[in-house]
């Protein structure tokens, strides 16, 4: 078991006041809250901070923890010294609403669990397992067709002796056609196992699209930036455009401007109704890297007399 430096985790000094501890916790909790944070390891960090706070905010647990001494380093191999917690009783008010299943074995070795250990064996003690969440990464194309994903999840399960164990398990989950970025799929009974007759919790899978080379999505609508030449935009043309369901011939109307959006109805993510595919025109300028091209630009300058800054009054 590795030693955890709760002060380091919370970024505070060992002589921090209770107010400072609370303030640090609030700041870190906001930063790493899985519902708010964009950090990739938010979930892990949030649990770690919650555990550190559980100990440091409680003067009794903090004193006991401090008593281990300041010489321990985070990550160092650790065994609690025998009788280290003499004179402490970690009960009553010590534990908050935090989910004790989430705490590390380091925490558990020191403070036990948040509920009465004796309760497990007692007949008639039932509790529903906690809900868990995970992300499932898919490609946009998968959302068009539907797919299946193998997921390896770590989860905590209570053994027969009432102690939690981390187990890995693999789930094969159907990702239905038409799912969107950020949507949740609920898998009933796939969360943490319950106690006694309490059923298992649910697993909530959040759908995350891998960034795509060509497309981006907004809800069910899909966007593609399509480069076109100035003459295709000005004169109109039929050009080839990729879509997630295959290449299409796209008609560019004459007089199109940079940034114009062409809508391909129902070519977005499938659903009821299906989303649309928007093609955003990006006018690409041909390089003037040879004499003929330069001449063509000079001709344009002469014949068009175009001032793109007229509206700026210059």
């Amino acid at each position: 078991m590795k030693f955890k430096d709760y002060y380091q985790i919370m970024g505070i000094s060992r002589d921090a006041t209770q107010d400072e501890i609370k303030r640090a916790y609030r700041q870190l909790a906001r930063k790493y809250h899985p519902d708010v944070s964009k950090e990739t390891d938010a979930e892990e960090r949030f649990k770690e901070v919650g555990e550190a706070y559980e100990v440091l905010k409680d003067p009794e647990k903090r004193t006991a923890y401090d008593q281990l001494g300041a010489n321990w380093k985070a990550g160092q191999e650790f065994r609690p010294p025998p009788g280290w917690d003499q004179g402490f009783e970690f009960h009553g008010g010590g534990f908050t609403g935090s989910d004790p299943f989430e705490f590390s074995d380091f925490f558990e070795a020191l403070f036990g669990r948040g509920f009465d250990r004796g309760a497990h064996g007692r007949a008639g003690f039932h509790a529903r397992g906690g809900d868990t969440r995970a992300k499932v990464l898919i490609d946009l194309e998968d959302a068009y067709r539907g797919t299946a994903r193998g997921l390896t999840l770590k989860h905590t399960q209570l053994g027969d002796d009432g102690r939690p164990r981390v187990r890995e398990r693999t789930l094969n989950v159907r990702i239905p056609k038409g799912v969107r970025q950020g949507q949740q799929i609920r898998l009933a009974g796939q969360g943490e196992a319950g106690l006694g007759q309490g059923g298992a919790g649910d697993l909530y899978l959040e759908v995350v699209f891998r960034p795509h080379r060509l497309y981006r999505t907004e809800g069910r609508d899909v966007y593609l930036n399509l480069p076109v030449t100035p003459w295709e935009a000005a004169l109109g043309a039929t050009v080839k455009a990729p879509t997630p369901t295959g290449t299409v011939d796209l008609k560019i109307p004459p007089g199109s401007a940079n940034g114009d959006k062409l809508r391909l109805k129902a070519r977005g993510l499938p659903g009821n109704p299906s989303g649309d595919l928007y093609v955003v025109l990006n006018i690409a300028l041909p390089p003037a890297d040879n004499e003929a091209a330069k001449t063509a630009y000079r001709d344009m300058a002469r014949t068009l007399g175009f001032n793109p800054r007229a509206h700026l009054g210059v």
């Binding site: 519902d35 708010v36 990739t40 094969n172 799929i185 981006r216 966007y223």
Partner: protein
């Protein structure tokens, strides 16, 4: 990827097409009905239908309720604060989507 002989699981996509009654929402979010009434009063979720017994919630409400709950529990914000945070988070999400490809 290990797809070894695990059966294929299907879940419910919590979208607009799924509709839940008050009691189904309570069960899905593990909340007493009084709390759900409070969340409705705060405008965190909006049911269709006039009376609680006729209420129908979109599947997407499950996510909002669960987020509101964890914000309330973990950060100590009240329901009004959670409602504000959820609205802002949704706005950020749609702005990020509009920004185009997310560069990590």
């Amino acid at each position: 990827m290990s797809n070894q002989r695990t059966s294929l699981l299907s879940g419910d996509v919590l979208d607009e097409e799924i509709e839940l009654t008050l009691s189904e929402l309570c069960r899905a979010c593990r909340l007493p009905a009084e709390d759900v009434l409070e969340l409705v009063a705060e405008g965190i979720i909006e049911p269709r239908g006039r009376k609680p017994l006729q209420w129908r919630f979109q599947g997407i409400c499950v996510r909002r309720v669960r987020s509101a709950l964890t914000l309330h529990r973990d950060l100590g914000v009240n329901w009004a604060g959670a409602a504000l945070a959820l609205d802002l988070l949704e706005e950020i999400e749609s702005l990020r989507a509009r920004l185009g490809r997310v560069s990590d």
